[in-house]
Amino acid sequence: MKRRDFVKKATLSWLASAVGAEIVFGAKLPEGYQPLALQDADPFKMFNKNKDMVVLNDQPWNMEAQAHLLDDDITPNANMFIRNNGLVPENIDVKNWTLTIDGESVVNKKTYTLADLKSKFEQHTYQLTIECGGNGRSEFNPPAKGNQWTVGAVHCASWTGVRLRDVLKDAGIKSNAVYIGFHAADLHLSRDPGKEPISRGCPMSKALQDETLLAFQMNGADIPFIHGYPLRLVAGGWPASVSGKWLNRISIRNKVHDGSKMTGDAYRVPCKPVAPGETVKDEDMCIIESMPVKSVITYPKSGAMIKEGTPLDIRGHAWAGELEVATMEYSIDFGSTWHTCELKKPANRLAWQHFNAKVEFPQKGYYEIWARAIDARGVAQPMLVPGWNPKGYLNNACHRIAVKVN
């Protein structure tokens, strides 16, 4: 036994007695993963993340990118944000992994192995934008409760899997089906096995879209452990919490799914606008569906100092939930004038779109470059933080970077 393993085992048994509970499958923790209490738990190494990613929380793990880390057209694992509501699964048995389709509105309850899913159904690959509902929460005033995401809780990776629709239809969907709800292998923070950390879902209309996948690959390889290996629901354009990780069951419901984080104020905003700081009753909160229009400048990194007379090339991505972005603009005078950026079409529906522009500055000085996307319905990003809500969701205010011309 290696000393490190011994220390790990010894610490695990110490932990088990300290928390008064057996750490189930403790010895089978994923390669490199160690409980929080161990001094050398390094999330960057454990999850193969870029050293410039920012750790917001370590129990559960939450980590975000910075704008300049999102420069790639297709986001690599290293720069993808991590969002967890619970503790990551402590044992993943891929050989015996199954997905069960059940619920009030399933015709035949069915269970599939990963091999079944891969062989029985046609496989598809899409680039899908996934943004945390709380991205930008840090800007709300008064402050909203939760992880204080800034701009980096968004990514657009390439996902490969089978259509959720094909699997649901194989099991059979009753005509009274309203919603799907997922169940997964992650653990509640309290370690109570009777509680699920998160069990969300979406209406049937979203579940049946071409691009809604049961994915087993990301960017051409097995999904990284922290992003849901071996099976993840991917619903582009909706709050990332709909894209459940480590899936083992999907229920076809005859009512709006009432799992953990579907109710109360979780992933909900006031149905009618409220004043900042107002108390909102649970029954006056509505579930977030499509995410709003938004964009991020990924090059250059904020803080660039350039010489007078040199035009600056900027670039980034824009997305609009279920919609396409129609126009992309930038301003260097705080919105007094706007200039059009070159904007590409999405690789497929629900993929973010790339923009670029050449910016010229009239004289030396301090500038901010503000970026504004406008969706297919003419709705633009606000320059100010939009409507306050108790949990601080849906801040799609314009992103901006600082530039000095010397």
Partner: protein, 160 residues
């Protein structure tokens, strides 16, 4: 006579040599026996230091450095250990440090944790905890949009 003297001298010399050889055999034999018993000759070295068997992590588990509780990052102030002991078991202190709320919203958050997250009744500790939080981490008014802060300035070379 001279011959006799010579003989006595030779005998004396032989006795001397035999004695020396005998002493050497005894000495080296003793040495050999000692070597078997103590191959390191440790008796001839200064006494070894007594190895301290203290474990730093236990001593420093609740270490305070520059007014910060090192293990959690929480400020050392009245109520610190009540917060550490009640609020950092299920979740990290990092989520506490990120959130700036008033007493009403902290109390609502505690109620939510009791209803959904298996938190038990905190009794009189609840007031201590909420006082600690609102005193040390009060909400800050930031308006509708703040200035950009903490800008990391760098020279950007542009290839024309």
């Amino acid at each position: 006579m001279a011959r006799e003297d010579d003989f006595v001298r030779i005998v004396k010399r032989a006795v001397q040599l035999v004695s020396i050889a005998f002493i050497m055999v005894i000495f080296s034999g003793g040495l050999l026996i000692y070597y078997i018993a103590d191959p390191d000759f440790s008796v001839f070295r200064s006494a070894p230091e007594i190895v301290k068997n203290t474990v730093d992590t236990v001593d420093d588990f609740d270490k305070i450095e520059n007014g910060i509780h090192v293990r959690t990052g929480l400020v050392d102030a009245e109520g610190l250990m009540t917060v550490v002991n009640n609020c950092t078991y299920c979740h990290s202190a990092k989520i506490i440090l990120q959130n700036k709320m008033n007493a009403e919203r902290w109390n609502a958050t505690i109620k939510w944790m009791q209803e959904t997250q298996n938190l038990g009744d905190l009794g009189s500790n609840q007031e201590v905890i909420v006082n600690y939080l609102v005193t040390n981490y009060p909400p800050k008014v930031v308006g509708r949009r703040e200035n950009l802060t903490n800008i990391d300035w760098y020279e950007l070379e542009i290839n024309k």
